[in-house]
Amino acid sequence: MFKYKSFALRKISGVGVRYLPFADAASDDVPLSRLLRLSLFQVTVGMALVLMVGTLNRVMIVELRVPATLVGVMLALPLVFAPFRALIGFRSDRFKSALGLRRLPYIFKGTMLQFGGFAIMPFALLVLSGYGEAIDAPRWIGLGSAALAFLLVGAGVHIVQTIGLALATDLVPEEDQPKVVGLMYVMLLVGMIVSAFSYGALLENYTPGRLIQVIQGSAVITVALNFFAMWKQEARNRARAMAQTEPEASFAEAWARLTERRGMIRLLAIIALGTAGFGMADVLLEPFGGQVLMMSIAETTRLTVFLACGSLVGFVMASRWLGAGARPIDMAIYGAMIGIPAFGLIVWSSTLLSVPMLLGGTLLAGFGAGLFGHGTLTATMRSAPREQIGLSLGAWGAVQATSAGLAIAVGGVVRDAIVATEAVGASASTPYTSVFMIEVGLLTLGLLFALPLRGKDAGRSVDDNTAETSYLSAVAERQGTQQPFAGGRTS
């Protein structure tokens, strides 16, 4: 008789670990190709951001004729989840898994949510806009399903980005972290640029069918890229899988432990101020160029390109300087110091009506934003003890995403408020320049917060881990990350 059992056993053991989704060992040197692959999750994050903030913003208002305020509310919904990033990161740090995983399950779930949101989004939008027979359907179906779709995508993006960054931090030694941060930012930018162009080209001739294809195509690409990105990245950790008896720390305790580190609260405040300072003008630059400097659409698009190019250069230079031994907090300070005159130039360009000056200011602002973003994220990564990486990156994400979102909203509101109160005949530039002046103020405030950190050796002070040795699992965890979860080999 044919021996099914031994046949199956032979087949399965022949498959080996080659086809398993986890790494068989956390090696000390992670090759660049693997980091490059991991950074693909940032491409999907960028794709989702562009689709929601850029493309759908327009499609919903122009093609689907949804009221602008409703669109604004829908697009702001994902922001609700931003503060929960800290909680997600914390849960991931403490995740109980028999497999010894703690990042992959979260990236998987986040990807599922993002996919699910994209999968129902086009139909939700069509129902919301009253397409076909949906005009007779009760209003709450469209509202509820569109809100659900945006919430799902938003939650997915928050989870994937937080845990993906935590996984990247887990993988590399501290001296390589600047490289990883640079890579992550560049890939986010690449994802945003590529998808902005592709969405523009794909939706050139809008039809409802094309909308469904594009959004659901994004869903499939998201799943494909994220699965490819996380494949074989996280090593299984036997020590963590076995340590089921360790005391359960509450979120409040863990948060208190994180924030009592010297400079942590200050760092988060700097991130909030600087992100808001750099981000407030993101959506106002193009209308500013168009209305005040009378630039054509092609020219205002160049503003966004210049901003992105500046950031790209900023990320690359920050990676290089940090790799050469510069301190992250200095990068953030330089970024803010470049940002202040950059927005000054932009304001000044409105009185001189000088397009080259606006372009130069925009390029500088992008460069400053790149330095600042890189410096603060690297500082956050270094400030966290190994077992709290998820929590501290969650805190970074929560602060960063919330303040970026609020800044865009506040910028729009301030502009509209000034437009509404302005007497007829007043200069068209006032609403914009006042927003840019607010940005200068925020950056100055952030700079003032950051300067004291520079005096006392702050780049290092937050990452000396001596205070943590009392903590039970710190040592076990630290060793654990270096040990392979090599089933038979350890026994």
């Binding site: 399965i12 028999a98 027979e133 179906i141 026994s491």
Partner: protein, 51 residues
Amino acid sequence: MSNDPDKVWPTGLTLREAEEVHSYLIDGTRVFGVIALIAHILVAVSTPWLG
């Protein structure tokens, strides 16, 4: 590998590990199911295909 009594045939996973893998599969299936259901309802609202 085979001398560990916790590990079960044929995968070599322990029972808890196997249950965890299974839970991800079940979660994924549930999410897919609910999403598909919602998507079908929404399509039916805008372009009724049930008569």
